[in-house]
Symmetry: C2
Amino acid sequence: MTTPQQPAGDDAGSGARKNRLSREVVLAAALKLVDDEGLEALTMRRLGQALHRDPMGLYRYAANRAALLDGVTELVLDELAIFGDDPDWQGQLRRIAHDLRLLALRHPNVVPLLVTRPLSTPLGLRPLGTLRPLEQILGLLIDAGFAASDALHVYRAYYGFLYGHILNELQEFIVDPDENEALLRLGLHRLPSKEFPRLRALAHQLADYDGATELDEGITILLSGLSAHLAAPLIKSG
Amino acid sequence: MTTPQQPAGDDAGSGARKNRLSREVVLAAALKLVDDEGLEALTMRRLGQALHRDPMGLYRYAANRAALLDGVTELVLDELAIFGDDPDWQGQLRRIAHDLRLLALRHPNVVPLLVTRPLSTPLGLRPLGTLRPLEQILGLLIDAGFAASDALHVYRAYYGFLYGHILNELQEFIVDPDENEALLRLGLHRLPSKEFPRLRALAHQLADYDGATELDEGITILLSGLSAHLAAPLIKSG
DNA sequence: CCGGGAACGTCTACATTGTAGATATTAGGC
DNA sequence: GCCTAATATCTACAATGTAGACGTTCCCGG
């Protein structure tokens, strides 16, 4: 076997000199960097250093930094599994919502990319991994009996709410739940009480935010509303 | 001549030489720069040049570039008027939604800031202008009879959906509506038809997206769902 | 009128970034 | 062995944010 792949040792520690590089390896390293140290830590030089390679060599696997960012978002979105053939479309949508939420909590630093990267590329030209969820959910809905254009509307409302919720939750997310309330109170205390009476009064409720149930209730509302307004197939159980 | 800079004569070319600078002026110039040329055009040097000032002088009005970005988002959000004393809370929420949508369309390049900047600052420490809508909408809901904590839930669902919709719409937004369909078709044509049959079939519907009614219907669904689930005061007319 | 202090403005300098382009190194075919 | 093409690395450059030193202007109490 003279293939260039040499699984002598993974890049644990400082060894791992010269394994063959690949796009996947590069993107995985980039994602790790972002997860560990934030978006602005992802520079060509830092990434090259993490891979024990010359920074310039990375341009073979991503045309430029923007393409690298796109690659990272695609990689993260690939973690989301969608089963397009589930007849229980409501249950499926609910599960996907929770999965996406967990994914966002696993990679909070990537969320800005998730929501803003698509803004700079017209829909048809996005990385395929980004479009796959759209296609699969459309399939889910159409198979469930929605007209194609209605499926599009449902998808928009659904994903719109989903992304909005994720942004909301990450805004209120603070790492240490003990420190959370203290920090919040501290921060809120700064607000002039004349101008922000209700916000200050809500400090406690703000402190114990439960994203999962908040999301779930939102989805419930949305689904019931959709069913009513779109004359959808009301498959509730079997 | 003794001093190279003489304020006596107006600068040849672009006027407006030496008016006193202020935070508002700086932020307004920054916003204009972002609106005209995009986010990455907003550098200290470019901004200084737009104001005919030394870039370093700007640090008097914004501690650093991040603070400047925060200032821009605050400035944009200030364009949103909320009347906290309207008894028709549903109508008010609907109007705000449309206003925010129009605001986003007026400043598409600022939207990434709108949705990501709060992620880097804990709630209590944000610029006050950013928190004002929250406070006012809470007031609106509480005055309408919601319990404080329910008001918070409603706010979250509402703003979540709203931000999600804006992101959705801006993604599909292409400047020239004639070019729109062409570009879309072109882009979609690139997609492998085996993998993306429904997306490709929906090209036409994607092309004539109507954000306003899409948003309006979403709000309707949300409000009806909320009313049902939260035992809200069902003030429909007067 | 002045003269001193504070606010404001400008210049230079430096570390870091993305990336073009030249150069070195390696692999495979004869 | 050598020749060509791919691949890896180095050097270089323009642009960025921003610290720190230096000038200039303004105001206010004497």
